[in-house]
Symmetry: C2
Subunit: 144 residues, 2 copies
DNA sequence: TCAAGATTTAGAATAATTCTAAATACTCCC
DNA sequence: GGGAGTATTTAGAATTATTCTAAATCTTGA
């Protein structure tokens, strides 16, 4: 069973993209659907493979382009926890990422609340922050 | 004027590497010196270029190898704030990273204290965490 | 309907990292 | 001190990740 995006999603996408000066195209919708369909933090390459199943003519460059568009308009996040391919995540709620250094999987984790005031040097303008936790996931911790 | 590592550093390096089953080699020392010499979070490529000035025969693969060795033995950290090349940092004190999305520079920032207890799923074993803040640095914020 | 601009496409190009096999260096044991 | 065995380095090839390019297609507004 695959998750098909709801009308609200479509309208939301249109609005969010529009606010950034971008259009909702079938490709962007498809890439978004892939992200929402299985929230396992796929790489661009993974997204490409999955999107191709529904839309065989989609190209590599388009996937990168769509992912960038989605990130720019605030409906997806880029997750860079480790060397290697960047991952993507459609969960826009405040959360951090747990990266299993053994199997490489990435999991969303709730964060306790606002990051306590970090003292930034004068003039620095923060916009968002990312928390990445490294360790072993339940499965891998058990193995060892 | 370049920072030359102190004897303590050398002994410390030897110990830390040794505890991980690795030796302190001239190349590893050199790569470490580069990191300590200018703490601007260089990429592996940057480290390669700088290391070459003192040790012209050092190879690309060795720099990657040395950086991995230093990270594994806990004397340097890998910093992955964005798509693109990984950066490295010899500051092992508890700190986060500020990434300027305009100029791409990375700055160390103090963190307020222990990350408040994040509720991890059962069985997950955390080992370390990273906080990355994105925004504009003082210089770039001024320009705009 | 047409022109202008946005988007997609295939494939080439570039950048980042890892791999490979051979050469070198070091450590331990005799 | 001489070797055997292991660790490390080296150059360069290979692989992986991402970006670029130029042409084709789509959309929108006059």
């Amino acid at each position: 069973m695959r998750a098909r995006s709801h009308p609200q999603d479509e309208q939301h996408l249109t609005e969010q993209l529009g606010a950034t000066g971008l259009r909702l195209t079938p490709q962007r919708q498809q890439v978004y659907d892939v992200l929402v369909g299985k929230q396992d933090h796929p790489t661009a390459e993974e997204v490409f493979i999955r999107a191709k199943k529904q839309m065989p003519e989609i190209s590599h460059a388009t996937v990168y382009n769509c992912l960038d568009a989605l990130v720019k308009s605030g409906v997806a996040r880029q997750v860079t926890v480790d060397r290697g391919a960047t991952r993507f995540c459609p969960n826009m709620h405040e959360h951090g990422h747990f990266h299993c250094d053994t199997c490489g999987m990435v999991f969303d984790v709730d964060l306790p609340g606002e990051l306590p005031g970090v003292a930034l040097p004068r003039g620095f303008k923060p916009q968002r922050y990312e928390v990445a936790i490294h360790g072993s996931c339940a499965n891998c911790a058990k193995e060892k």
